[in-house]
Symmetry: C2
Subunit: 494 residues, 2 copies
């Protein structure tokens, strides 16, 4: 996709995110080198980038079959994209050479620019901006770069990220947050269209990238971590426009006084007042989250649930206190857990152990060993109540550990998580009402790693069937609350 830049040049995002020929500049051939250039080359090879990679270093040399060119000019072909990891003072010259080689964009991993607060750093960054304006779009400097699972570009420390593409895009001013969020997404089940760590944002940054992602057909959900912004008005217009089309989840760091001090942004940033941000984000119907965890959980819900509001839900399993917690949390987010009709309650009771269970809603199955087939019947019956728009099931799978020990088997072997995933998947297809799984676990010590393993495997099975999984009922309800707030407003995300 090509887009206009500053009404003058066109940005070829296609060649930036899915390049066929890339150069990595600043890769050392030395044995055991741990520089950024070598790090990103190893990461990109490990993750399996399919295009052609050219390496550059004034010292030349070879890494395996890869010849290291002494200058960018020596690369025998035109470039689509460049990854720059040389000392700050050398960056302008290298960027210029990449422009000449036809690169549509470059990410500058190097630091030592405006973030230092020095005149030299600021001047170097200005030079980058001047070169960028002549036709090479820049991500960075002082960033971790681009992760695009489809093409195999990855972040600086990201050799082990997922190659599965998905609907969530993430923009981050912080490199640490970009890699942490990409890793969190991997196990939590968030699949990314692209993750962009833009660091100082000398050229491409929040507003323009948001415009791009709003119209990117690979992206259905946009998440952002921002500390300081450059042009408040333009940014909020961009959010407003994007949020009309798809959910925009925003984690704004530095809303406290101390936080603002910790944000070394050196940008003309909109004052970090909590109230201002809250009211503006509210106006444009963006989803403001309080931390990375809430951001991840909200992205998971937005990406796996149908695009609508779910006001009334059923909650199945878990036991008495978890049902109480579910109700308390749901009320906080305007979600109802209404009693099911008496007729349905009677039918559900037939599948529950007696005494101690309750078929009201929350439905307390009173026993962690109720078979998946019986739970499936309960889900099927509860879905027959017309009020119910979504179901939450809380299987307490960790209870299988003592059973496994008694039978001399592993917890993963004995726990029926696969059957449960299949059973839920069938019910979702049959009833058209989504199901969320909540799998809490109070046993996380060194003695209980087998439970953690089983739960990680269970999560995979559920996610492969499109069933979102959360650790705690309050996490699931909060994420659902964010989904509801977005779709409640007329004309959003449609």
């Amino acid at each position: 996709m090509k887009q206009k830049h500053c009404d003058s040049i066109t940005t070829d995002y296609e060649r930036i995110f899915h390049p066929e020929k890339i150069a990595i500049i600043g890769v050392s051939a030395e044995e055991g080198n741990t520089g950024f250039g070598r790090g990103i080359f190893d990461a990109i090879k490990t993750i399996g980038f399919a295009g052609e990679i050219f390496l550059v270093n004034p010292k030349g040399g070879k890494i395996g079959d890869y010849v290291i060119h002494k200058q960018v000019g020596n690369i025998p072909e035109k470039l689509d994209f460049a990854i720059i990891a040389v000392a700050a003072r050398l960056v302008p010259e290298v960027l210029e050479a990449c422009l000449e080689k036809g690169a549509a964009g470059a990410e500058i991993i190097s630091s030592g620019f405006s973030e230092l607060g020095t005149t030299e750093g600021k001047d170097l960054e200005k030079k980058i901006q001047e070169i960028a304006a002549r036709g090479i779009r820049v991500i960075g400097p002082n960033c971790f770069g681009i992760y695009c699972p489809k093409s195999g570009l990855t972040l600086l420390p990201g050799p082990d990220l997922s190659r599965q593409s998905g609907p969530v895009a993430f923009l981050s001013q912080s490199g640490g947050m970009s890699i942490d969020f990409a890793h969190t997404g991997k196990w939590m089940g968030i699949r990314f269209s692209k993750v962009i760590s833009f660091g100082n944002g000398a050229d491409l940054r929040e507003t323009e990238l948001l415009h791009y992602l709003a119209s990117d057909p690979e992206t259905r959900v946009i998440a952002m971590y921002i500390e300081g912004i450059k042009n408040g008005d333009a940014f909020f217009r961009a959010i407003k426009e994007a949020a009309r089309i798809k959910p925009v989840v925003i984690y704004k760091g530095g809303l406290s006084l101390a936080g603002q001090r910790a944000v070394v942004s050196h940008t003309a940033s909109l004052g970090g007042s909590r109230t201002i941000w809250q009211s503006i984000l509210n106006q444009v119907n963006a989803c403001q989250v309080q931390d990375m965890t809430e951001m991840a959980q909200s992205c998971l819900a937005f990406s796996l649930l149908p695009a609508k509001e779910f006001r009334k839900i059923s909650v199945i399993g878990g036991g008495g206190a978890l049902g109480v917690t579910a109700c308390d949390t749901a009320e906080n987010f305007g979600i109802e857990i209404p009693p099911l009709s008496a007729a349905l309650q009677a039918k559900i009771e037939a599948f529950l152990p007696q005494p101690g269970s309750s078929a009201k809603n929350p439905i307390d199955v009173a026993n962690p060993y109720v078979r998946p087939r019986a739970l499936q019947e309960v889900l099927r019956l509860a879905a027959q109540d017309e009020q119910i728009e979504l179901q939450i099931i809380i299987p307490l799978l960790y209870h299988y550990k003592p059973l496994a020990e008694a039978r001399g088997k592993s917890v993963a072997e004995i726990t029926p998580y696969k059957e449960l995933a299949f059973a839920i998947h069938d019910i979702v297809k049959e009833t058209g009402k989504p199901v969320i799984a909540v799998m809490p676990n109070p046993k996380k010590g060194a003695d209980d790693l087998d439970i953690l393993e089983m739960l990680a495997l269970a999560r995979k099975e559920f996610l492969e069937r499109g069933i979102p999984v959360f650790d705690e009922i309050s996490d699931a309800v909060r994420a659902l609350g964010n989904v509801n707030t977005y779709y409640r407003k007329e004309g959003f995300g449609k």
Copy 2:
């Protein structure tokens, strides 16, 4: 410790929590029996209860070397405590027999009483109360019983709980919550004096147990999960009295309308209004928490930190965005992260890698591989600033995984968590200022179980040296906020 009951009889809590002779009534000798009686007998043997155990079942028989008596009356000795797991209708008769055998108390695991809402159930519970009033104190019915690490009494499904005793007592109306909290405490580092699941609370319940725990020398922190209470005035007077002496952490379930419906309490319970609870608990300086996680984290902080308020703290490690999150969260809880003096900043800089680090506070070490010795120097220097009352260190230990892979070793082998625990321990002793460790981990998938293992081992090392560990900076700061709120008021917990 003996205490007066209803101004008439004396309760011998010592014989209830640390009994020498107990009976378990309702234990089946059948092979493969999974009844409650057998379950609790197995659990108590596994955990290693040191006293004498007598078994009772009308069918008689033997389990290993244990003879099963046909009636309580046949037990050849006086009892201290009884565990009753027979059908509801048989409970009164059995309880009466235990009273005759001299038992100071009994826990009734069986359900089928007032929680059913039937006349029969209510009548049976009334009978229990009548017998209890004649001198045997009752825990339950419809509960998981008592866990007392010192004596080796344990909850119904608790064979694998810790035998380490500690300062936290937990009272819970919900059995599920009692066992989940005990397990959570095990890996999180909460050590218990006693955990009491009191279920329907026919006899001993919130108010009287609170009185007992307030004066129990083994208990320094009291936590409670309550759904409905019996006598509002007496309960709040009991909290007020207890909170003067030691922190009382309260998780009240069922504050929502739906939650109240989910609470099948059948007790004359104080209306669940959120506002009323909040304002009363506030008045008596109890610490109200919103879920089990916050309750656990607060108990950890209360039990491992010195009894005082910590208004100004330093935050070390983690990287830019985590520092920003720390500041934002701290402000929410009235905690300051003030800049260190310029002189100290200069000294700290000498131990930090350049560029990218910051010695201001939050101190960004910019590199996850900074050695424990260097981190120790940073902690030592930051503590020299007189404003600083507590330090939070955020080692990003999961970053050692790629290094371990490169060196062909396990993550646990290569990560210097032991050195770090020793280094921090020394600094706490030297400076007298507590240190909290925060160890986040974005890698929790099936591919990264080795990281989870390493972190579980690291947590153990830290906890063994009295250093509280949290997963997220926001968790640590929230728990600290609760500690501060309690000790801020004059004359509490002293």
